[in-house]
């Protein structure tokens, strides 16, 4: 197990390093002269040089890279060109929206997908199984933002039960914050569920055809008992992996849903900064997101190691 953990840790650090180089080169390299981009077409060469100098952009690229990494390690994510605000402050303020949204969306998705997917697997070939397969097939085809629009049309505009957008700070009114998260979480969760149902279904189906499930019944479990006690434990292995892979998907969904419901989350901030060509802010935020995703995948791998004894001893 120790070797397994070590290997995963090395991969984690290596992945972050490579991703940081890639992001840095992509943004600095493909973006051309950052200062010129930021100041726009009408800027004088003097103004560009002055801005470049004040942000250290006239130094060699690798110096800038190490400077950036060093600052990030010490918690300094840089400053905005326009407002000179600290990126770290900008980001933390937004996380109180984005993290509850993404996490609740994922959890809702799992809460729906695990029982429904298991049910679908047990009813393969029956009409109810076929209907479920079709529903999840359609659900996969629904863009998350359209689900959001439709839900806000129904519950917000037509019925007037919930806000169609906007945000109430947790500190102002926790209940208000929750109310403004209900529809976003519902849209995100339903679409996640549609994707996850298919994975749960095939994972459970796979386990149901395994010999050890038959053995469990052969020594005295009922069909249901065997599925719940032996099957789900084994089906959780591929599911853990899938959830890890879905994290990237989840973040994409969160970005869009924040826009649909005008939530002031991290991704809305990113979008605004992309539009404003705030290169440093984009670069640091992107890096944070990537560290988060790779970190979640590290956790997933470690969890897998705990759940599956075979992984521990062979890899």
């Amino acid at each position: 197990m120790a070797i397994y953990v070590l290997r995963k840790l090395v991969f984690f650090l290596g992945a972050i390093f490579i991703a940081s180089v890639a992001i840095f080169l992509l943004i600095r390299g493909a973006g051309g002269n950052v200062a010129a981009v930021v100041l726009g077409k009408g800027a004088t060469p003097e103004a560009i040089n002055a801005l470049a100098h004040s942000y250290g952009l006239d130094r060699p690229l690798f110096v800038q890279y190490f400077d950036w990494v060093g600052n990030m390690l010490s918690g300094d994510l840089g400053r905005s060109f326009r407002t000179n605000e600290r990126v770290a402050d900008l980001v933390t303020a937004r996380l109180s929206v984005s993290i509850p949204l993404a996490l609740s969306g994922l959890i809702l998705g799992l809460i729906i997908a695990i029982p429904v997917g298991t049910y679908a697997a047990r009813n393969v070939g029956t009409p109810s199984g076929a209907i479920l397969a079709l529903v999840s097939q359609i659900g996969v085809a629904v863009p998350v933002f359209w689900a959001g629009i439709l839900l806000s049309l129904l519950f917000g505009v037509r019925l007037g039960w919930l806000p169609t957008g906007g945000w109430t700070e947790w500190s102002v009114s926790p209940w208000g914050a929750i109310r403004s998260l209900v529809l976003p979480v519902l849209s995100l969760g339903l679409i996640m569920a549609a994707v996850l149902i298919r994975y749960v279904r095939s994972a459970v189906l796979d386990v149901m055809n395994q010999d050890y499930l038959r053995t469990a019944r052969a020594v005295g479990m009922t069909r249901t008992e065997a599925l719940l006690k032996v099957g789900l434990r084994n089906a959780s292995l591929p599911l853990v992996t899938i959830v890890g892979l879905q994290i990237a998907e989840l973040i994409g969904g969160t970005v869009i849903i924040e826009t649909v419901f005008s939530l002031p989350g991290l991704s809305r901030m990113m979008l605004a900064n992309v539009a404003a060509r705030e290169v440093i802010v984009v670069q640091s935020t992107v890096m944070l997101i990537i560290i988060f995703v790779i970190g979640v995948n590290l956790l997933v791998d470690l969890l897998y190691g705990i759940l599956d004894p075979r992984v521990r001893s062979t890899r």
């Binding site: 393969v124 070939g125 395994q210 010999d211 050890y212 038959r214 053995t215 469990a216 019944r217 052969a218 020594v219 005295g220 479990m221 009922t222 069909r223 008992e225 032996v230 434990r233 084994n234 292995l237 759940l307 599956d308 004894p309 075979r310 001893s313 062979t314």
Partner: protein
């Protein structure tokens, strides 16, 4: 307890067992009796319905398959029992050893837990007591270092050891009947014998009945006192092992026996005359009319093509219109008419 009496009831009484799904009928009317403590071999090629027969006895048929007829065991008809009622018998009065021990054990649970939980499920034993019994079973199965084995996972031990664990699991609650479905096919030749010997000893010690499913005739000759030969979902011949193997009545049985390599019919110079049965096992959805074996049978006549022969006889039964070794008797019968 009644089942430990010498004069106890049969371990299994199968009457007109049919196993089918919506499209196919794989087992087409089986009749046999397995006495308490008796040991019966079930032979046949793949696709003859052996495994489905075994699974139907356990109530473990795959989804979509269904059994009809009656299977009397321990005073109840297994066919009519609910999954719940059957589950309380499985592992207790009737248990099964499967073909592939690696895929048959839960990969994420420790071996000791898997065996002891069977004991705890069917008896009042405490965890401690169940663990003690598990260790004892491991010793009986001649498993090395049983204490360490308790904490091992299935992938950490050898195939032969895994199958011995499976046998220990099957034996754990002293069942009246053990069904072994090709228990050594997935094992190395070198450990097959050892596993079979352990199974044989354990079954004899406990006086439990054994149903051995295999296509390996020598195994049946060594371990069983009765044999049933299956072809295309039916028993074509059944009787005491020695008699059936020495003087087969059904042409299919004879074909099977002739196609077994022995020291006599294998010649090292390449002039072997190992017989084979012409043709292939017919697919279930297009079985020939009459005797299912007739397209491959040299002795087939018009009658064989139209009418299914029934199992005739008492102890020794064969489903054939022209049984081997009976030509003379048959001729006499025709003349008498």
């Amino acid at each position: 307890m009644t089942q430990t009496n010498p004069g106890r009831a049969n371990a299994l009484e199968v009457r007109n067992l049919v196993v089918h799904n919506s499209a196919l009928t794989a087992v087409r009317g089986l009749d046999f009796t397995l006495p308490a403590g008796g040991r019966m071999g079930l032979v046949g090629e793949s696709g003859s319905g052996k495994t489905l027969t075994a699974l139907s006895l356990m109530g473990l048929l795959p989804m979509g398959w269904q059994a009809n007829g009656s299977v009397l065991h321990d005073g109840v008809d297994l066919v009519t029992q609910s999954d719940k009622a059957l589950s309380s018998r499985r592992g207790r009065t009737i248990s099964m050893v499967f073909q592939d021990p690696l895929s048959s054990l839960d990969p994420v649970r420790r071996i000791g837990f898997q065996v002891s939980s069977v004991i705890r499920r069917h008896t009042q034993a405490s965890q401690q007591e169940a663990d003690r019994q598990t260790l004892e079973l491991f010793r009986q199965m001649s498993l090395p270092r049983p204490e360490q084995l308790m904490r091992a996972y299935p992938h950490e031990i050898s195939g032969g050891q895994r199958q011995r664990i499976m046998i220990a699991m099957a034996l754990a609650c002293y069942p009246q009947l053990i069904i072994a479905d090709e228990p050594t096919t997935a094992l190395d030749v070198t450990v097959q014998k050892q596993v079979l010997r352990l199974l044989n000893n354990a079954v004899q010690e406990r006086g439990c009945a054994l149903m051995m499913i295999t296509h390996d005739l020598p195994i049946i000759a060594a371990m069983c006192d009765m044999v049933a030969v299956m072809y295309a979902g039916r028993i074509v011949e059944i009787g005491p092992v020695a008699e059936v193997f020495r003087t087969p009545r059904h042409h299919y049985t004879k074909g099977l026996l002739d196609s077994q390599p022995t020291m006599d019919n294998i010649a090292l110079d390449g002039s072997s005359r190992l017989a084979s049965i012409p043709g292939m096992v017919p697919p279930l959805q297009s079985l020939p009319k009459g005797c299912a074996f007739h397209p491959r049978c040299a002795a087939a006549t018009e009658k064989c093509r139209t009418t299914i022969p029934t199992l005739e006889g008492d102890q020794r039964r064969a489903a054939c219109w022209h049984p081997l070794g009976a030509e003379a008797a048959a001729d006499a019968e025709v003349k008498a008419q």
